[in-house]
């Protein structure tokens, strides 16, 4: 009965200690990053004070431009859409212990694959075209990142370095293709693939003002969370992430899992490229290399590679970025200001990881018991 005495409130008696601990851990998982976010913002405020700018005004503008009006939300969500898919390309392999930072490569090649489908089969009806573009982008993105997983497993090549370097190769390959074999001769001063037929263009989610890539991103995050946390495949993947040798001794197909999950991550990044082409640009060109793959790394780490947590992390970061312009215009601060804020928040949230299980509700509960 001592355990129950530790819990406040009349309902406490009916909650089992284990449930309380799980609940406490869940609260920890939400509260710690939140507190870290606020601490990061406070540290950033000190920088602002040194510059003679008001932190209150700064965060009011961030709120207004990122979340304060319906337009702000459209702005934020439009920026979050590619980040959700880009973050999955980091988060999924990370659960197997792989640090993949070259999702940018899968994004640009996924976009080129979509552009190539439109170049070679423009006569198809819109629905089929979109499906085909999606499949092509997912296959190309999946193969690109899957190859990195394969190199890691079969040849012991460091996946962090190889994925980063392969992102540069991917961008060079994209430039070669859109300026060479896939170039639309009519695109004179901005080499691009042939424009997508109108019926192939992906529109906006009604009432939201953001293209369907956002919905696909959110569904993707939820599916990945279910896959990792609620299926035997995900369980096996987490064991591989804990210790490859132990997993192999248990008879788990470590190689298949590593290649499969990296390829799945790459497929999501490829889809992000497809949505950039089909919903935003209308053709594949050098604008595809916009750095979403790199912002995705930050978001995946912030979310601790948890699919569900990627959604709020991407929205917060997208909100910061949505406010960057108004910050420049109203406070006369340089465009890098928001990058500094993002960097500080990133570091404080990562540091808060170290505090996990030291400062926590679970600990408090246990403390009460003694």
């Amino acid at each position: 009965m001592t355990t129950e005495a530790g819990l406040a409130g009349p309902a406490a008696g009916t909650i089992k200690a284990e449930t309380a601990e799980t609940l406490g851990r869940k609260l920890d998982a939400i509260l710690l990053p939140l507190v870290a976010l606020i601490v990061g913002m406070l540290i950033f405020s000190i920088f602002l004070l040194f510059l003679g700018k008001s932190p209150i005004e700064f965060f009011q503008i961030v709120y207004k431009a990122g979340f304060g009006t319906p337009f702000s939300w459209t702005n934020t969500l439009a920026r979050a859409a590619p980040l959700l898919l880009a973050a999955l390309c980091v988060a999924l392999p990370a659960r197997l212990g792989l640090v993949i930072i070259g999702g940018e490569g899968a994004i640009v090649l996924g976009g080129v694959a979509a552009g190539a489908v439109a170049t070679f089969a423009p006569g198809l009806p819109g629905f089929l075209g979109i499906i085909l573009m999606g499949i092509a982008a997912a296959i190309v993105g999946g193969a690109w990142i899957g190859a990195i997983g394969a190199l890691r497993h079969l040849r012991g090549v460091n996946e962090t370095i190889s994925s980063l370097l392969m992102a540069y190769i991917a961008i060079a390959l994209m430039n070669h293709l859109v300026e060479g074999p896939l170039r639309d001769p009519a695109s004179l001063n901005k080499p691009s693939t042939a424009p997508l037929p109108d019926a192939w263009r992906i529109g906006e989610i009604p009432g939201v003002g953001v293209h369907w890539g956002l919905a696909v991103g959110i569904v993707g995050c939820i599916v990945c969370w279910l896959l990792i946390e609620r299926t035997t495949w995900g369980f096996a993947a987490r064991i591989v992430g804990g210790n490859v040798k132990a997993a192999q001794i248990q008879g788990l197909p470590a190689g298949l899992l590593i290649i499969g999950f990296t390829a799945l991550g790459g497929a999501f990044a490829g889809l992000a490229g497809m949505f950039e082409v089909a919903a935003v640009h209308g053709s594949a060109n050098a604008s595809l290399a916009a750095g979403y793959g790199y912002t995705g790394i930050l978001i995946a780490f912030l979310a601790r590679h948890n699919g569900l947590a990627i959604i709020p992390a991407a929205v917060v970061f997208a909100g910061f970025e949505a406010s960057s312009g108004l910050i420049q215009r109203r406070l006369d601060l340089p465009d890098a200001t928001i990058l500094v804020l993002e960097g500080i928040v990133f570091i404080t949230i990562l540091l808060s990881d170290a505090l996990q299980d030291k400062v926590s509700i679970v600990k408090l509960l246990k403390g009460d018991r003694t």
Binding site: Q60, K64, A65, N175, K190, Q328, D335
Partner: protein, 374 residues
Amino acid sequence: MTKIWTPNRRQFLKSTAGVAGLAAASSILPGGIARAAGLTVGFIYVGPKDDYGYNQSHAEGAAVVKKIPGVKVVEEERVPETVDVQKTMESMINFDGATLLFPTSFGYFDPHILALAPKYKDVRFEHCGGLWTEKNPKNVGSYFGYIGMGQYLNGIAAGHATKSKKIGFVAAKPIPQVLLNINSFLLGARAVDPTITCQVIFTGEWSLAVKEAEATNALADQGVDVITCHVDGPKVVMETGAGRGMYLCGYHANQSKLAPEKYLTGAEWNWGKVYTDMVNATLKGETIPNFVRGGLSEGFIKMSPLGPAVSEAARKQFESTQATILKGGFSVIKGPLKDNKGNVVAKDGEAFAETDVKLESMNYLVEGVVGSTS
């Protein structure tokens, strides 16, 4: 403040009221909601405003506009050619009440400006690059300058300065605008000495400092002693070139500050004049034509003042050629002319004026240029 302006202001008051209402509802209102009178003009740049290049040339134009009474200028730099620029434009319209926008990067036009223009019919979108056609929305316009003539004049200064008879060009991408600049530079130099050759290196990107430095060094290693470029920010090429003892011809903006002794001259944009004209027209309630272009004689382009390394002979030829160009009707690309693969690109007696649309699909390097478009 007549017919064009009135609906804009009404629209703007409406949106301001909306924003103020929302802000009041959430009891949060950062200071500085844009004022309801006067014209707000938005400038958007793809890179930093102080890049000594393309973006700086536009920011200098914006600085001139700032001085016009009753005009408020809002600016944003380093805006990528993605959905970001659409949101920046909408943010300027919604939060600042901007009704005249200058999104200056080439890649902002299609699809971004074209996607927004139908949504904001009371806003005027003016894009740098000359892409507007009759099919596009009427509240969109494009403007551009014939800067090839500037590179031709650069070539004359270079032709006099080179001792090795090898001049160099660091280029971003083999697209028509860039090819015309390279060809003009070489032809300008050949107007001085027809044995001069021009080595070109393409970096593949508009802004990639490492490759620009490598290319400049590679050209210096090959004996090139005068260099120019067509990349977004010529700073790296100019500083690296000066460090290797090369003479410099500028591009986009005036880079003489970076190496005053080595800087011969430069082909500069003169956006201050173009923007002033457009803003004044808007203030008077006139409609800006959808398609605006000009060269040296229209004041869209200007040359940097000649540097101390320019010889007297060079000065004379430079000034007489400039005077000829200003009279109009001058052609850089004229026959007989072959490309560097031996194909005839202009027959004897054939000449392409700077306004000729055929030049806008240029896909060759002229004889004397060492390099390849693919």
